[in-house]
Symmetry: C2
Subunit: 206 residues, 2 copies
């Protein structure tokens, strides 16, 4: 799978473009201009042009983009049709909320299982499972899991992180409020929910 690195804000708008293009009536849909997309989605034309050029290069002058190609490019950048598999460790409230959050697949990521210290698998109503940690390494290696999500407490986050790396995971999304050490070549994204709220609170008084 080839992907293009696009800015985060652009990435956030791509599912909207994709949904819009896929819903176009077929007879109208061979070419579409950035202007038409901008108008239909109530977005700025400059922004749309910039977003699309990050994904698919420039459209053809006076004609725009070939719709089929643009859909393909969007799907490619969003990783659709070729989902990246993720697992999650720590099946508390936050972990379960993420496990059942259905927006991730719009962005090409599917959380396929959660792990926790339960002895036996727990099947959730969503048909996803919470598996015991003893199955973690085998599961990740056999399914070539690439993304690991950490929703355990601060105290066990580094151990979980190490286990993820050892199991072949190359990108980690950490919700535990602590700094993690990862070897070179492993991507780490620290999520700090409290900070968003702190910042909002701080702005209230300015």
């Amino acid at each position: 799978m080839e992907k293009t690195s696009v800015p985060k804000a652009t990435l956030g708008r791509l599912p909207r473009y994709l949904r819009f293009l896929k819903e176009l009536p077929q007879e109208k849909s061979s070419y579409i201009s950035a202007t038409a997309i901008a108008k239909s989605l109530a977005l700025g034309e400059v922004q749309v042009r910039k977003d699309l050029s990050a994904v698919s290069g420039a459209g053809r002058p006076k004609v725009g983009y070939e719709t089929v190609d643009l859909i393909k490019s969007l799907e490619n950048v969003l990783g659709r049709g070729n989902l990246t598999f993720a697992v999650l460790v720590g099946a508390g409230k936050l972990g379960r909320a993420l496990l059942e959050h259905d927006e991730f697949e719009d962005y090409g990521v599917k959380i396929v299982a959660a792990f926790d210290c339960n002895e036996h698998p727990i099947r959730l109503s969503s048909s996803k499972e919470i598996l015991p940690m003893c199955q973690f390494e085998h599961f990740c290696k056999s399914r070539k899991i690439q993304i690991g999500i950490i929703t355990v407490g601060e105290g066990s986050a580094q151990a979980v992180c190490d286990q993820m790396v050892q199991s072949g995971i190359t990108a980690i999304w950490n919700f535990a409020p602590c700094k993690l050490e990862v070897p070179a070549g492993v991507l780490l994204k620290q999520e700090r929910l409290a900070l968003s709220l702190a910042y909002l609170n701080n702005q209230l008084y300015n």
Copy 2:
């Protein structure tokens, strides 16, 4: 309560400084230098100086900061001792996870109750309550709630947002994956969890 607007990254480090200063043995604690703080917390000296100057101005040359004053400034910026009250609407898994997340109080915000479409109050093990929506406006007005957190689905987020504004809330943290309209003067922070994961996924292939 007076607050100083500080950058988000700085804000994120303040609880660490505060914890460190409060744990200093009393006899050693009348003055402390940025150098000493940096060394103890394994942070860069330039960063510590920058952080502290955003909070408390410059320290005295060769002596540093008066510990008691610095603690007060940190507590002030973090809103401690004068917690801002928040409520949350939408007590699903994510809502309940946030309701019981204990890091928010480190940053001066306390989520005092959650609301949902239940008919009667539900008391949680944390002693917090999920209240019926019919009590929302009265609750917010009588307790002067300033922050509202939206963890309902896309379909009802705008209605909840409007109700928050009408109930006197002036800062909204929205987890629903949709754009909200707020009147001028109301702060809005859009949280897009899926985007962090999307970005991580996109980086995997570059």
